[in-house]
Protein backbone atom coordinates (compact mmCIF):
# COMPACT_ATOMS: atom_id res chain seq x y z
CA UNK A 1 0.00 0.00 0.00
CA UNK A 2 1.54 3.23 -1.11
CA UNK A 3 0.78 6.91 -1.19
CA UNK A 4 2.01 8.57 -4.35
CA UNK A 5 1.27 12.26 -4.06
CA UNK A 6 -0.96 14.94 -2.59
CA UNK A 7 -2.37 18.18 -3.95
CA UNK A 8 -4.12 20.84 -1.88
CA UNK A 9 -6.25 23.36 -3.78
CA UNK A 10 -8.15 26.31 -2.44
CA UNK A 11 -11.59 27.13 -3.74
CA UNK A 12 -10.27 29.34 -6.50
CA UNK A 13 -8.18 26.52 -7.90
CA UNK A 14 -4.85 27.78 -6.57
CA UNK A 15 -2.45 24.95 -5.88
CA UNK A 16 -1.63 25.60 -2.23
CA UNK A 17 0.63 22.66 -1.70
CA UNK A 18 2.06 19.72 -3.55
CA UNK A 19 3.88 16.80 -2.01
CA UNK A 20 5.03 13.50 -3.43
CA UNK A 21 6.41 10.39 -1.80
CA UNK A 22 6.73 7.39 -4.06
CA UNK A 23 6.02 8.83 -7.44
CA UNK A 24 8.27 7.03 -9.86
CA UNK A 25 6.97 8.51 -13.12
CA UNK A 26 6.39 12.21 -13.77
CA UNK A 27 3.68 13.51 -16.04
CA UNK A 28 6.14 15.44 -18.16
CA UNK A 29 4.62 18.86 -17.63
CA UNK A 30 5.32 21.66 -15.23
CA UNK A 31 3.88 21.43 -11.74
CA UNK A 32 1.77 24.47 -12.42
CA UNK A 33 0.31 23.03 -15.62
CA UNK A 34 -0.36 19.70 -13.92
CA UNK A 35 -2.11 21.46 -11.04
CA UNK A 36 -4.34 23.40 -13.40
CA UNK A 37 -5.29 20.29 -15.35
CA UNK A 38 -5.95 18.39 -12.14
CA UNK A 39 -8.21 21.10 -10.79
CA UNK A 40 -10.00 21.48 -14.11
CA UNK A 41 -10.63 17.76 -14.33
CA UNK A 42 -11.95 17.58 -10.76
CA UNK A 43 -14.15 20.58 -11.37
CA UNK A 44 -15.69 18.96 -14.45
CA UNK A 45 -16.08 15.54 -12.86
CA UNK A 46 -17.65 17.10 -9.80
CA UNK A 47 -20.22 19.12 -11.68
CA UNK A 48 -21.08 16.27 -14.04
CA UNK A 49 -21.35 13.73 -11.22
CA UNK A 50 -23.78 16.05 -9.45
CA UNK A 51 -25.80 16.50 -12.65
CA UNK A 52 -26.34 12.82 -13.43
CA UNK A 53 -26.89 11.77 -9.82
CA UNK A 54 -30.38 10.28 -9.42
CA UNK A 55 -30.59 11.68 -5.89
CA UNK A 56 -29.38 14.97 -4.53
CA UNK A 57 -25.75 14.19 -3.71
CA UNK A 58 -24.39 15.21 -0.33
CA UNK A 59 -20.72 14.66 -0.71
CA UNK A 60 -20.64 14.06 -4.46
CA UNK A 61 -17.44 12.88 -6.04
CA UNK A 62 -15.06 10.99 -3.77
CA UNK A 63 -12.62 8.90 -5.78
CA UNK A 64 -11.88 7.23 -9.09
CA UNK A 65 -9.85 4.18 -9.86
CA UNK A 66 -7.70 3.08 -12.77
CA UNK A 67 -5.82 -0.19 -13.15
CA UNK A 68 -2.73 1.39 -11.58
CA UNK A 69 -3.81 3.97 -9.06
CA UNK A 70 -6.76 5.49 -7.20
CA UNK A 71 -7.38 9.19 -6.87
CA UNK A 72 -9.13 10.28 -3.68
CA UNK A 73 -10.64 13.71 -3.24
CA UNK A 74 -11.88 15.37 -0.08
CA UNK A 75 -13.63 18.69 -0.40
CA UNK A 76 -14.33 20.71 2.73
CA UNK A 77 -17.42 22.95 2.98
CA UNK A 78 -15.03 25.88 2.66
CA UNK A 79 -14.05 24.64 -0.78
CA UNK A 80 -10.56 23.32 -0.03
CA UNK A 81 -9.72 20.21 -2.01
CA UNK A 82 -7.36 17.56 -0.73
CA UNK A 83 -6.44 15.22 -3.55
CA UNK A 84 -4.35 12.12 -2.98
CA UNK A 85 -3.16 9.45 -5.38
CA UNK A 86 -2.52 6.03 -3.92
CA UNK A 87 -2.22 2.51 -5.22
CA UNK A 88 -5.38 0.43 -5.47
CA UNK A 89 -4.95 -1.42 -2.18
CA UNK A 90 -5.04 1.62 0.08
CA UNK A 91 -7.95 1.72 2.53
CA UNK A 92 -9.33 4.57 4.62
CA UNK A 93 -7.71 7.32 2.59
CA UNK A 94 -10.70 9.59 3.15
CA UNK A 95 -10.16 9.49 6.90
CA UNK A 96 -6.49 10.11 6.35
CA UNK A 97 -7.31 13.20 4.28
CA UNK A 98 -9.66 14.41 7.00
CA UNK A 99 -6.82 14.04 9.47
CA UNK A 100 -4.44 15.91 7.21
CA UNK A 101 -7.00 18.69 7.08
CA UNK A 102 -7.70 18.83 10.82
CA UNK A 103 -4.33 17.97 12.27
CA UNK A 104 -1.87 19.32 9.75
CA UNK A 105 -3.48 21.97 7.57
CA UNK A 106 -5.49 23.72 10.29
CA UNK A 107 -2.74 23.42 12.88
CA UNK A 108 0.27 24.41 10.83
CA UNK A 109 -1.08 26.50 7.96
CA UNK A 110 -4.28 28.17 9.14
CA UNK A 111 -2.98 28.92 12.62
CA UNK A 112 0.30 30.14 11.24
CA UNK A 113 0.07 33.91 10.78
CA UNK A 114 2.88 33.78 8.24
CA UNK A 115 0.81 31.61 5.89
CA UNK A 116 -1.46 33.87 3.88
CA UNK A 117 -4.92 32.64 2.98
CA UNK A 118 -5.05 31.60 -0.65
CA UNK A 119 -1.28 31.67 -1.07
CA UNK A 120 0.88 28.61 -1.65
CA UNK A 121 2.19 27.17 1.62
CA UNK A 122 5.92 27.59 1.91
CA UNK A 123 6.25 26.83 5.62
CA UNK A 124 8.97 24.30 6.42
CA UNK A 125 7.16 23.32 9.60
CA UNK A 126 4.08 22.38 7.60
CA UNK A 127 6.15 20.34 5.17
CA UNK A 128 7.96 18.46 7.93
CA UNK A 129 4.80 17.73 9.88
CA UNK A 130 3.04 16.51 6.76
CA UNK A 131 5.96 14.28 5.80
CA UNK A 132 6.10 12.82 9.30
CA UNK A 133 2.35 12.27 9.29
CA UNK A 134 2.37 10.51 5.92
CA UNK A 135 5.34 8.36 6.88
CA UNK A 136 3.72 7.08 10.07
CA UNK A 137 0.30 6.53 8.51
CA UNK A 138 -0.75 2.88 8.25
CA UNK A 139 -1.21 3.14 4.49
CA UNK A 140 2.36 4.05 3.91
CA UNK A 141 4.64 1.05 3.96
CA UNK A 142 7.82 2.84 3.07
CA UNK A 143 8.83 1.22 -0.15
CA UNK A 144 12.44 2.25 -0.20
CA UNK A 145 13.02 3.83 -3.55
Amino acid sequence: MTIYNLYIFDRYGTLLYYGEWNRSKQSGMSREEEGKLMYGMLFSIKSFVAKISPLDPKEGFMHYKTSKYTLHCLETPSGLKFVMNTDNQAQGVRDLLKKIYGEIYVKYAIRNPMCGIGEPITSELFKNKLDAFIKQSPIQYARAS
Binding site: G13, F43, E59, P77, S78, V106, I117
Partner: protein
Protein backbone atom coordinates in the same frame (compact mmCIF):
# COMPACT_ATOMS: atom_id res chain seq x y z
CA UNK B 1 1.48 29.95 17.52
CA UNK B 2 1.63 26.29 18.23
CA UNK B 3 5.16 26.80 19.39
CA UNK B 4 4.25 29.36 22.01
CA UNK B 5 1.40 27.34 23.41
CA UNK B 6 3.32 24.09 23.60
CA UNK B 7 4.19 24.77 27.21
CA UNK B 8 0.77 26.08 28.12
CA UNK B 9 -2.36 24.09 27.48
CA UNK B 10 -4.06 26.08 24.73
CA UNK B 11 -7.47 25.15 26.05
CA UNK B 12 -6.80 26.67 29.43
CA UNK B 13 -5.69 30.20 28.67
CA UNK B 14 -7.32 32.41 31.25
CA UNK B 15 -10.38 34.12 29.84
CA UNK B 16 -9.59 37.23 31.85
CA UNK B 17 -6.34 37.50 29.95
CA UNK B 18 -8.30 37.54 26.72
CA UNK B 19 -10.74 40.13 28.05
CA UNK B 20 -7.98 42.45 29.20
CA UNK B 21 -5.91 42.03 26.06
CA UNK B 22 -8.88 42.83 23.91
CA UNK B 23 -9.72 45.84 26.07
CA UNK B 24 -6.16 47.12 25.83
CA UNK B 25 -6.24 46.71 22.06
CA UNK B 26 -9.48 48.63 21.65
CA UNK B 27 -8.45 51.46 23.95
CA UNK B 28 -5.09 51.78 22.21
CA UNK B 29 -6.83 51.96 18.86
CA UNK B 30 -9.12 54.66 20.21
CA UNK B 31 -6.09 56.64 21.35
CA UNK B 32 -4.35 56.36 18.01
CA UNK B 33 -7.34 56.99 15.81
CA UNK B 34 -9.38 60.14 16.15
CA UNK B 35 -12.59 58.80 14.73
CA UNK B 36 -14.41 56.00 16.62
CA UNK B 37 -16.09 55.05 13.34
CA UNK B 38 -12.65 54.09 12.01
CA UNK B 39 -12.02 51.98 15.09
CA UNK B 40 -15.30 50.17 14.47
CA UNK B 41 -14.23 49.48 10.92
CA UNK B 42 -10.81 48.26 11.97
CA UNK B 43 -12.28 45.95 14.61
CA UNK B 44 -14.68 44.56 12.05
CA UNK B 45 -11.78 43.93 9.71
CA UNK B 46 -9.75 42.19 12.40
CA UNK B 47 -12.78 40.02 13.09
CA UNK B 48 -13.20 39.28 9.42
CA UNK B 49 -9.61 38.12 9.10
CA UNK B 50 -10.06 35.93 12.16
CA UNK B 51 -13.28 34.47 10.80
CA UNK B 52 -11.67 33.52 7.53
CA UNK B 53 -9.22 31.28 9.41
CA UNK B 54 -11.47 30.26 12.26
CA UNK B 55 -13.95 28.60 9.92
CA UNK B 56 -11.36 25.98 8.91
CA UNK B 57 -10.71 25.16 12.54
CA UNK B 58 -14.45 24.94 13.18
CA UNK B 59 -15.08 22.67 10.19
CA UNK B 60 -12.21 20.38 11.12
CA UNK B 61 -13.30 20.13 14.74
CA UNK B 62 -17.02 19.67 14.24
CA UNK B 63 -16.81 17.80 10.90
CA UNK B 64 -19.95 19.64 9.90
CA UNK B 65 -21.27 19.42 6.40
CA UNK B 66 -22.79 22.11 4.22
CA UNK B 67 -25.89 23.82 5.59
CA UNK B 68 -28.97 23.66 3.43
CA UNK B 69 -30.87 26.51 5.06
CA UNK B 70 -30.29 29.43 7.39
CA UNK B 71 -31.70 27.64 10.43
CA UNK B 72 -28.88 25.12 10.26
CA UNK B 73 -26.40 27.94 9.81
CA UNK B 74 -27.78 29.65 12.90
CA UNK B 75 -27.29 26.46 14.91
CA UNK B 76 -23.70 26.25 13.73
CA UNK B 77 -23.02 29.84 14.68
CA UNK B 78 -24.50 29.18 18.09
CA UNK B 79 -22.25 26.15 18.42
CA UNK B 80 -19.23 28.24 17.44
CA UNK B 81 -20.01 30.78 20.15
CA UNK B 82 -20.04 27.98 22.67
CA UNK B 83 -16.84 26.50 21.34
CA UNK B 84 -14.74 29.63 21.05
CA UNK B 85 -16.14 32.08 23.59
CA UNK B 86 -17.98 29.79 25.98
CA UNK B 87 -21.09 31.86 25.43
CA UNK B 88 -24.66 30.67 25.14
CA UNK B 89 -26.48 33.02 22.81
CA UNK B 90 -30.09 32.26 21.92
CA UNK B 91 -31.31 32.35 18.35
CA UNK B 92 -34.58 34.28 18.04
CA UNK B 93 -36.58 36.79 16.06
CA UNK B 94 -36.65 34.98 12.74
CA UNK B 95 -37.99 37.06 9.91
CA UNK B 96 -41.01 35.52 8.16
CA UNK B 97 -38.95 34.63 5.09
CA UNK B 98 -36.41 32.80 7.25
CA UNK B 99 -33.36 34.68 6.02
CA UNK B 100 -32.75 36.93 9.00
CA UNK B 101 -32.32 36.15 12.68
CA UNK B 102 -30.97 37.53 15.93
CA UNK B 103 -28.41 36.16 18.34
CA UNK B 104 -29.13 37.38 21.84
CA UNK B 105 -26.83 37.07 24.83
CA UNK B 106 -26.55 38.69 28.21
CA UNK B 107 -22.99 37.73 29.04
CA UNK B 108 -19.97 38.12 26.87
CA UNK B 109 -16.40 37.27 27.75
CA UNK B 110 -15.13 40.21 25.73
CA UNK B 111 -17.13 42.94 27.37
CA UNK B 112 -16.43 42.41 31.07
CA UNK B 113 -15.13 45.44 33.02
CA UNK B 114 -15.68 47.84 30.18
CA UNK B 115 -16.41 51.51 30.61
CA UNK B 116 -17.79 52.81 27.38
CA UNK B 117 -16.91 56.25 26.07
CA UNK B 118 -19.96 57.95 24.63
CA UNK B 119 -18.79 58.29 21.05
CA UNK B 120 -20.48 55.64 18.96
CA UNK B 121 -17.81 52.98 19.49
CA UNK B 122 -19.03 49.45 18.85
CA UNK B 123 -16.83 47.63 21.30
CA UNK B 124 -17.59 44.10 20.14
CA UNK B 125 -17.43 44.85 16.38
CA UNK B 126 -14.99 41.95 16.19
CA UNK B 127 -17.80 39.42 16.52
CA UNK B 128 -19.95 40.43 13.52
CA UNK B 129 -16.75 40.67 11.51
CA UNK B 130 -15.77 37.11 12.42
CA UNK B 131 -19.23 35.82 11.49
CA UNK B 132 -19.13 37.58 8.16
CA UNK B 133 -15.63 36.28 7.38
CA UNK B 134 -16.40 32.72 8.40
CA UNK B 135 -19.63 32.53 6.41
CA UNK B 136 -18.00 34.05 3.38
CA UNK B 137 -15.64 31.08 3.26
CA UNK B 138 -18.60 28.71 3.02
CA UNK B 139 -20.08 30.73 0.16
CA UNK B 140 -22.62 32.66 2.21
CA UNK B 141 -22.73 36.41 2.10
CA UNK B 142 -24.37 37.91 5.17
CA UNK B 143 -24.81 41.25 6.81
CA UNK B 144 -24.28 41.42 10.52
CA UNK B 145 -24.94 44.29 12.91
CA UNK B 146 -25.80 45.14 16.50
CA UNK B 147 -29.41 46.01 17.31
CA UNK B 148 -29.01 46.27 21.07
CA UNK B 149 -25.84 46.48 23.11
CA UNK B 150 -25.54 45.93 26.84
CA UNK B 151 -22.58 48.26 26.90
CA UNK B 152 -24.88 51.02 25.70
CA UNK B 153 -27.42 50.42 28.43
CA UNK B 154 -29.69 47.84 26.81
CA UNK B 155 -30.83 44.82 28.81
CA UNK B 156 -29.27 42.31 26.41
CA UNK B 157 -26.96 42.36 23.43
CA UNK B 158 -28.67 41.53 20.17
CA UNK B 159 -26.77 40.79 17.00
CA UNK B 160 -28.77 40.61 13.79
CA UNK B 161 -27.63 38.37 10.93
CA UNK B 162 -29.13 38.77 7.48
CA UNK B 163 -28.61 36.48 4.51
CA UNK B 164 -27.70 38.35 1.33
CA UNK B 165 -26.78 35.79 -1.28
CA UNK B 166 -24.95 32.58 -2.07
CA UNK B 167 -21.53 33.08 -3.54
CA UNK B 168 -20.90 30.78 -6.47
CA UNK B 169 -18.05 28.33 -6.88
CA UNK B 170 -15.13 29.65 -8.86
CA UNK B 171 -14.86 28.27 -12.37
CA UNK B 172 -11.31 27.51 -13.48
CA UNK B 173 -10.05 29.62 -16.34
CA UNK B 174 -11.22 28.45 -19.72
CA UNK B 175 -14.25 26.46 -18.54
CA UNK B 176 -17.93 27.18 -18.48
Amino acid sequence: MSRQTSRLDAKKVNSELLTLTYGALVSQMLKETENPEDVNKQLERIGYNMGVRLIEDFLARTTSTRCLEMRETADKIQQAFRLYLNMQPTVTSWSSSGDEFSLVWDQCALSDWVEMPNNGLRYCALIPGAIRGALQMVQLEVQCWFVQDQLKGDAVTELRVKYIKRLEDAVPAGED
